[in-house]
Amino acid sequence: MSTPVLDVQGLAYAYPDGHQALYGVNLHVHQGERVGLLGPNGAGKTTLVLHLNGILTPGAGSVAVSGLPVTKQNVQEVRRRVGVVFQDPDDQLFMPSVRDDVAFGPANLGMRGKALEERVLDSLDKVGMAEFVDRPPHHLSFGQRRRVAVATVLAMEPEILVLDEPSSNLDPASRRELADILRSLDVTLLMVTHDLPYALELCPRSVVLSDGMIVADGPTYDILTDDALMSAHRLELPFGFDPRAVRLPSAG
């Protein structure tokens, strides 16, 4: 197979206070895949994400993005290639207008003028928020802010989009709208979540992170129907949800 977009090998990390969060994680994501990263609270999901764009430096092991190792020298290019959408849009949207916020990433990469403006509108268009370009982010609804947060990252034309709990705090309609948007994007996706139905809906493949280790990697459907695996790692389906009874959206 070609060079994986994301290649994590033997990644281990301990926080400065001594708390070991990751114990040798191996993960490969290939071009065009949509992968769910599942795991209970405190499994180390966010710690893993912060390694993908070089915010944290591995204690052991390595991370490479499309063959480019994540190191201090490469960090700027890595951050262009890996777009992280954080959980709280208020953390991500900090500029006085939606336009400035979406422009922030590409402008940091040196883009200016008309090309920048086009990139901004194009990214907002992809998430259906183009008409809000002049609004201040804090006047938008939560679902709209989440979509703008996705646009801020799309504007950098990343090779892989990493979403941290994209469905949290969304009402069912916003949740579905976001799913439609994510499905329509032509980009490799790593979705960190404990919203299992959402992972089943969007990600053909999932990996399970538990206590700092990858304990399962396979088709999302197989993982969610493996009751022994699920209960061993504190993964529970919401009440009334049966993956066996769901008609999966056609792979796309």
């Binding site: 912060l50 951050r79 954080f86 006085p96 422009a103 922030f104 990469l109 920048l116 002049d134 609004r135």
Partner: protein
């Protein structure tokens, strides 16, 4: 330029004053204020002239006077202080409406009130006719250090977020039967303030993380 969803202090419009470049307005306000403050308070007619200038600017800006007047409540603490001055100050006494008040105090109160009111009205006019982001851009054009402009920008952006968080914490406190009615309740309020500070600090760290993730290197790009 804004879509009419600006800050609470901003009054949307397209007048000449609205359209003036922000840095011109900032310099004008600063110049105006320095002149007002430097004017000896006994030059009464000059202050009338200042007020007339300001009112003329407001008239051109088409911001309703009532809109500005309501926002002038911010000055009340100073007004209270000014009104106390004639009674507190020492020196020769004069009779005003049968009350013996200090002559120096009356003069000081007049000075404070006149200069303060002109300042507040001038600042409100700037705020009403200029979007916060334009004020920041103007300050940047005036070569204010970039870091200071960034800090102010974040203040504008997160003021509402932090206020809302404070409100939620108060609602949560009161939902559990707490009302700050006596001094013995202050420790709880103080602890809330501490929690708010820590939350805001942590949010600052998360925001920084999100910025760094999008290639931030210490300077906001000029767009």
């Amino acid at each position: 330029m804004g879509a009419g969803h600006g800050h609470k202090l901003h009054y949307h419009g397209h007048s000449l004053i609205h359209r003036l470049p922000a840095h011109v307005k900032i310099v004008a306000l600063l110049g105006f204020m320095l002149t007002v403050v430097a004017t000896p308070r006994e030059w009464y007619p000059v202050f009338a002239g200042y007020l007339a200038c300001l009112l003329a600017v407001i008239a051109v800006s088409q911001v309703p006077p009532l809109y500005l007047f309501k926002r002038m409540v911010i000055e009340i603490p100073f007004v209270v202080f000014a009104l106390l001055m004639p009674f507190i100050a020492t020196g020769p006494r004069i009779d005003v409406l049968g009350l013996a008040v200090s002559e120096d105090g009356v003069l000081a109160a007049w000075g404070l009130l006149a200069k303060g009111t002109l300042g507040v009205l001038g600042s409100l006019t700037l705020a009403a006719t200029t979007e916060p982001r334009d004020v920041l851009a103007g300050l940047e054009r005036l070569r204010l250090p970039n870091q200071l402009v960034q800090i102010m920008g974040f203040m504008v952006r997160y003021l509402d977020v932090v206020t809302e968080e404070m409100r939620r914490m108060r609602v949560a406190r009161e939902s559990r039967g707490f009302r700050a009615t006596s001094i013995t309740h202050w420790p709880a309020v103080a602890r809330s303030a501490g929690a708010l500070f820590i939350r805001s600090y942590e949010r600052g760290e998360r925001v920084h993380l999100a910025m760094v993730s999008r290639g931030y290197t210490g300077k906001l790009p000029r767009t």
